[in-house]
């Protein structure tokens, strides 16, 4: 047995690509699960905010709804409109999903868990994610239909405007952290002992708004404004191709949340780790597990169907067992990073849904006003002020070595 493990370890050490592939597989699988249940979470949170219950019939509390939706979309007819540019029509959703998933290559989920740490990480993210708009534009254009074309036009203008604002916000962080590597940016926040959100609050707010706009989420969902454009750029898509667009949208939500957490909220770092009083936050994973158990038990006791009641009680017991597992010191320290990272990302994802439940959609000229008349000038001012302060505080710090490119 140990010999086999040794052989496996040696093999992985000899072939670093294998380790990367394993990591990619883990990230991809977990991500797809998260995206599927993000749809469920969105429907639930949205309906609670609207005094409804949301999906309740498929599985206990509608827990199997994502599975049912997936099967339904897979079995639907895949329609290609008669006048469509077939090649681009088939290519567009693929572009969207590929780009959305590629970004995860450089996001550090924990101090020791990331697919790759390249020294131009942020540049890579900005470069790749702005390609994602091609999926939207080409999908809208190649459909050969009015509504998708209008949606695509809106998307192109909107995404270009907000890309600028988001870029401005991120430049402010770059000036402070002196590096483009995502891991280095988080480490820098650890060294400073304060998260970037407290140093760059203006940039944080700007990025928060721009991120909503870039993911085409309400209140900036003009490219797919269903009351005006039927379904916007993906009107003509059906079945699995529509599902891919859907997955891409939700993956993008996760992407921008991950970037925001890494850039502004200290990535995998535990909050207030340099204050003694907050040291007990280390045990938050256990509390989270027990809290989930209590919540699930409450749901089960409220349940109307006996079978569901047993399911929830079983789930609560599982959560308690999980808490026990997490309470083992080795495990507890191992999952710290991933726990805090995913907790922060979850807050952001919740906020996305929260905005959608609260704000009505912007008019098109208002959308442009917000970006060009407010966010970009403020972002620019923020960059200039940060640069001046940064220079006056330590004028002789050399620029971060962006070596590795040339050697």
């Amino acid at each position: 047995m140990t010999a086999m493990v040794h052989i496996a370890i040696e093999f992985i050490q000899a072939h670093p690509l294998v380790l990367a592939l394993i990591k990619i597989l883990i990230v991809f699988t977990v991500l797809m699960g998260i995206v599927a249940y993000l749809v469920y979470m969105e429907r639930k949170v949205l309906s609670f905010m609207q005094a409804r219950l949301g999906p309740m019939r498929v599985g206990p509390w509608g827990l199997l709804q994502p599975v049912a939706d997936g099967i339904k979309l897979l079995l639907k007819e895949d329609i290609i409109p008669a006048g469509a540019d077939k090649f681009l029509f088939l290519l567009a959703p693929a572009i969207s999903i590929t780009v959305a998933l590629t970004v995860f290559a450089v996001i550090p989920f924990a101090g020791n868990f990331y697919v790759s740490d390249i020294n131009i990480g942020l540049l890579f993210i900005l470069g790749v994610s702005s390609l994602g708009i091609y999926g939207t534009i080409l999908g809208g254009w190649s459909s050969n239909s009015h509504y998708p074309l209008l949606g695509a036009l809106r998307a192109s203008a909107q995404l270009v405007s907000y890309e600028v604002a988001a870029g401005m916000a991120l430049v402010g962080v770059l000036l402070i952290s002196n590096s483009l590597s995502m891991v280095e940016i988080v480490n820098r926040q650890m060294q400073m002992g304060v998260w970037n959100v407290f140093v760059q609050p203006v940039a944080f707010v700007i990025y928060l708004i721009a991120a909503v706009a870039e993911t085409n989420r309400s209140p900036f969902d003009l490219p797919e404004a269903e009351s005006e454009l039927t379904a916007g750029f993906h009107t003509e898509y059906s079945g699995f191709r529509f599902a891919i667009y859907f997955v891409a949208e939700y993956t993008n939500m996760v992407v921008v949340s991950c970037i925001a957490v890494t850039m502004f909220l200290g990535g995998w770092l535990q909050p207030f780790s340099n204050i003694r009083a907050f040291d007990s936050l280390r045990f938050a994973p256990i509390v989270a597990c027990l809290g989930t158990a209590v919540f699930v038990l409450w749901l089960g006791l409220k349940g109307l169907v006996p079978l569901e009641r047993y399911f929830f009680i079983g789930l609560a017991v599982t959560c308690v067992l999980m808490a026990g597992l997490v309470a083992i010191p080795v495990v507890l320290s191992a999952i710290q990073g991933v726990f805090w990272f995913s907790a922060k990302v979850l807050v952001f994802l919740y906020a996305f849904i929260w905005y959608r439940a609260t704000f009505p959609r912007y008019r098109y000229d208002q959308l442009m006003n917000v970006s060009w008349r407010w966010m970009i000038p403020i972002g620019l001012a923020n960059v200039i002020v940060t640069a001046i302060i940064r220079y006056s505080m330590s004028p002789h710090v050399p620029a971060a070595p962006v070596a590795g490119l040339g050697g």
Binding site: V45, F48, M49, Q50, A51, R52, L53, M56, L304, V305, P306, L307, W354, Y355, A357, T358, F359
Partner: protein
């Protein structure tokens, strides 16, 4: 005045107010949805649903005195009261037909009844497989509504 308005806009006060409102609606007591087959909906106290012909709780005899007022009150003429005369020339109820397919649940029959024999109850499950099933005779009316129990 202008200054406070300015700060309101800068710190997005109105947006935060809106966010707080939607957040507060997540409390479980705010949920308005009724999971109908699993739980009975709460109908209003004066809801007029399935008709019932009341019997005396102790003797089990019908309360109806066959006065025919309900039939006269009905705008749709869907109630037919049948009676016979006893030896002392008193009216005695024999048949009672109520055509639910034409009923609009106005409640005039209920109001006209001098002895509270005819009553529109709170039950609302009125689906039937044919129009004939919707014409209820005395037996069905006296038995009253039989709400469906959904159990798994």
């Amino acid at each position: 005045m202008r200054l406070t308005e300015f700060f309101h806009r800068v710190f997005l006060v109105d947006l935060i107010k809106g966010l707080r409102l939607t957040f507060s609606y997540q409390r479980p007591s705010a949920v308005y949805t009724e999971q109908y087959p699993l739980e009975r909906p709460r109908v209003a106290e004066r809801y007029r649903g399935v008709p019932r012909l009341n019997c005396h709780p102790a003797t089990g005899e019908t309360l109806c005195i066959a006065c025919n007022l309900c039939s006269l009150a009905c705008p749709e003429n869907l109630i037919v009261v049948g009676w016979t005369r006893t030896e002392d020339r008193k009216k005695r109820l024999t048949t009672f037909t109520y055509d639910l397919s034409r009923c609009m649940f106005c409640g005039l029959c209920e109001d006209a009844c001098p002895v509270d024999a005819l009553e529109l109850t709170q039950d609302f499950e009125l689906a039937h497989y044919s129009r004939e099933d919707m014409i209820w005779d005395r037996q069905a009316l006296e038995a009253g509504p039989r709400p469906t129990r959904y159990t798994r």
